[in-house]
Subunit: 507 residues, 2 copies
């Protein structure tokens, strides 16, 4: 039996053992309970699950102070950020509750029996139904927004799928406290036992991904870890969808016009975005293209100063801190690369590191600089011409986001840059910064490999439910076996009826 | 260089060599042309591609007589069936054209900049965009509906994705003739070179699945072949979605009430569904549960007689005929299994086989009977009680369809059967037969493994486009870089605006 320790990144000290790693039979029990819960969770219906999600938001808020203090002790992300993260999670739960009540996520469609150009067509009725138990891998960097509570869990529960979370080892006490809050909401609203479980340990994660009852996996983490689990999910006798968010460079292009017009503002905004949360955001703009002209060089100088002014901050875990220090150290010894921020003067406490900025000319953009480095490192690439810039962009791997900063009067280059970036990203920003992902219907959080394992989906926003739903068609079904959403009387949700999208009459 | 032969299944004679297997450089050229075509195909817009699809339907109809004769010579499916198949394909192309004009498939959503409970939200606009070049593997059993023309090709082109088809070796002349017709439509409507290509050969299929420019694969075929290609697609440095339709038993349950009330009708309908197209439908009801009571036994007797009356028919290929004969032969030697149809008296011409029906008691339903047998074989399982039936259903693998035949006054058992089946299928039928898949908004053609590799999708109906689309969000984008569907003025399509689904005002 291996203890799961709660460690303070500010000191590196383990304060307590809060749990044990889960055994194979623990995982099996959680998955079987989830499978057993699935029909009852589905049977709660849209209103029942909306009530559950609202109660979960209220329960998290009731325990807010305790949860935020625990999370801060385990992640050192700061209470302000963690309060915001919890608010975001509660907001998202309530928005899913609204989406359930609105009902369009079901894609309900009715084709009455009819004669068509193809001959007689039977009565067909289609909507999305829950996929079954979902495994969720908690992320290190979002203890409240992508962990036991958070996007994947909320989306799966909203869809009607029980969840087994594999808790991230860097915040076990936070995970347990959140589980307690969420389970109290389950009890209060009559959700079945087995709606939400928590397991710990790498072997438990493997067992979860391979368990016959698990129907899909949501994962947020490293490219290496995610790829290994993705391969496992695909290797099953019955492969299951694996929704992994892995690594993303989030390229940002500053055009010559933007550098000339907004140098100070961009330096300030970019330094903030690069170092926010100690650079541990999946949307950190890790690769920046600046023009190799006087305005671009001034911007680079200002950016270096701004990044250099940011004080050291602890990373989440010893592993992340070591990987970061090693990566930055390797850059130091590299020829043709300018290191623009000072080295730390002496060892820092706990897992703290100092933000770093480097720059290379276009021909120095080697493949190893096209890998995400988790933590406060920015790589600047300087370009000498539009053609050189556009050729560089064609070499970029997939990313969650891509950003263009353009001058007020520029048209040709920004449009070309946007066209190149749009092939490779899930969100295209103009004159902004990619960190800070709004929870909204129109948000997209996902992108071509390696940003995510499946570019058709999002892990933020209401559309993220669709990862955990599958279509089912009823043919010539008697009305009494049909779900209420597919019976003829208007159930108060948008539906497609005989090919035409129809809004609810009471709406 | 290996010749691709055109073979007549009625005689087993190769009539001509119509093509050569494609080389690695042929595949590479086709994929590069497809990638080159992608932006231009996307730029045709919804109306441009709708015009292309309409023109494709017209071009296929113009060549109808020639295509049907070629397809009949290469597949022996009969001209009546093949005329129907071509009609279906043209109907589907035109329905996709309508879906493009209607525009809801884009899932367009606009969230204007606003203050929210989470603080200020930027302007966010999201819709689905083409995924990129798609590889389509033609199926042996649908030379016109799942091959060069057909569901996958139509869905991908509608989505805006160029297509490279790996033609099935059993109908190369048909494939080439269809390609010619579809390409003439491309030329007539200004679609880019590289919109649609055709390659031949197993190695070409492997190369296609691994080609860096290919963004998704649509496949219809055997579980073994599909699994091998699925594994390849997942093994890529950048894994891509693989939409495979593999094997399906399409279980059908006849309740005691239905057997008592509609014995003759069910025997006739089921025999027809089992042997239609020589049993080479993906939706063939291959596994039938009948009550072990006097009415069930009478139904079984009638079914055996009806199946025995169906004359021999040629299967599509020598490989399929050999596999079928071997599988049926292995059943003959099995203890505890009743063979209910006569053996063929002497060898049959070409690839012809005789339909076969066997029955086993519930405890004889071994795992090897839970594998699809392609061709006119039906396996009947007799059950002695409701409990025995429900326990059997829990052992079933995923399937495209599941069917319940129930008595007029029955309620409890049919509902329980439907609940069990609905966990394992994509389409649930009542009192009907699963062969014959209507092209409609509410159709679902897909199901849990091994029916399809991804139960979230359909390969028939308008929703099948979503396999080849990915979401993209524009944040704070100037209006001139936005697609017309995401600009503020009503573009005449359904959109979600600030969270509310809105129908076009002119609609």
């Amino acid at each position: 039996v291996t203890d799961v320790l709660s460690i303070d990144p500010r000191t590196g000290q383990a304060t307590e053992a809060v749990a044990q790693e889960s055994s194979g039979s623990d995982v099996d029990r959680a998955c079987r309970q989830a499978a057993h819960a699935a029909p009852a969770l589905a049977a709660m219906g849209r209103e029942g699950r909306a009530t559950l999600l609202d109660a979960m938001a209220a329960a998290l808020e009731d325990a807010r102070e305790e949860i935020v203090l625990l999370a801060d002790r385990e992640t050192a992300l700061g209470t302000a950020r963690l309060h915001g993260e919890l608010t975001r999670t509660c907001y998202q739960l309530r928005q899913f509750a609204e989406a359930l009540r609105e009902g369009s996520y079901l894609q309900a469609s009715i084709d009455h029996a009819a004669d068509t150009a193809m001959g007689p067509r039977p009565d067909l009725r289609r909507m999305l139904v829950p996929l079954g138990p979902v495994a969720v891998f908690g992320a290190s960097n979002f203890p409240l927004a992508f962990s036991v509570p958070g996007g994947d869990t909320a989306a799966a529960l909203a869809a009607g799928c029980p969840v087994v979370v594999k808790g991230h080892p860097n915040h076990p006490a936070t995970s347990l406290r959140c589980l307690e809050a969420l389970r109290s909401a389950c009890r209060a609203t009559g959700a079945p036992e087995g709606t939400l479980s928590l397991v710990f340990g790498q072997e438990a994660g493997t067992a979860l991904t391979l368990h016959p009852e698990v129907r899909a996996v949501g994962f947020t983490g490293s490219e290496r870890g995610g790829r290994a689990l993705f391969d496992l999910a695909c290797s099953r006798p019955d492969p299951i969808p694996f929704y992994g968010e892995l690594g993303s460079l989030n390229p940002m292009v500053v055009t010559p016009g933007a550098a000339a017009e907004r140098s100070a503002e961009i330096a300030r905004g970019l330094a903030q975005s690069l170092t926010q949360g100690a650079g541990q955001f999946c949307t950190k703009p890790g690769l920046v293209f600046l023009p190799d002209d006087p305005e671009g060089r001034l911007l680079l100088q200002r950016l270096a100063a701004a990044v250099g002014d940011v004080p050291p901050a602890p990373l989440l875990t010893q592993g992340i801190a070591t990987a970061f220090t090693t990566a930055v150290g390797a850059l130091r010894d590299r020829t043709g690369l300018d290191r623009l921020t000072p080295d730390p003067d002496g060892p820092l406490e706990g897992y703290a590191v100092r933000p770093a900025l480097v720059s290379v000319p276009a021909d120095g953009l080697d493949p190893d600089l096209l890998q995400e480095c988790f933590g406060p490192l920015g790589v600047v690439v300087t370009y000498r011409s539009d053609a050189e810039l556009l050729a560089l962009l064609q070499r970029l791997p997939g990313a969650l986001t891509g950003t263009v900063h353009r001058g007020a009067a520029e048209e040709g280059l920004p449009a070309q840059v946007a066209a190149e970036l749009s092939q490779r990203v899930g969100r295209l920003l103009f004159d902004g910064y990619p960190t800070g992902v709004a929870v909204a219907w129109s948000m997209q959080h996902g992108g071509p490999w390696p940003a995510t394992t499946n570019p058709l989906h999002t892990s933020v926003g209401m559309a993220s439910m669709s990862r955990f739903l599958r279509p089912l068609t009823w043919q010539n079904a008697p009305h009494d076996v049909l779900p209420v959403e597919l019976r003829d009387p208007d159930p108060g949700i948008p539906r497609r009826i005989d090919g035409t999208l129809v809004l609810p009459s009471g709406g």
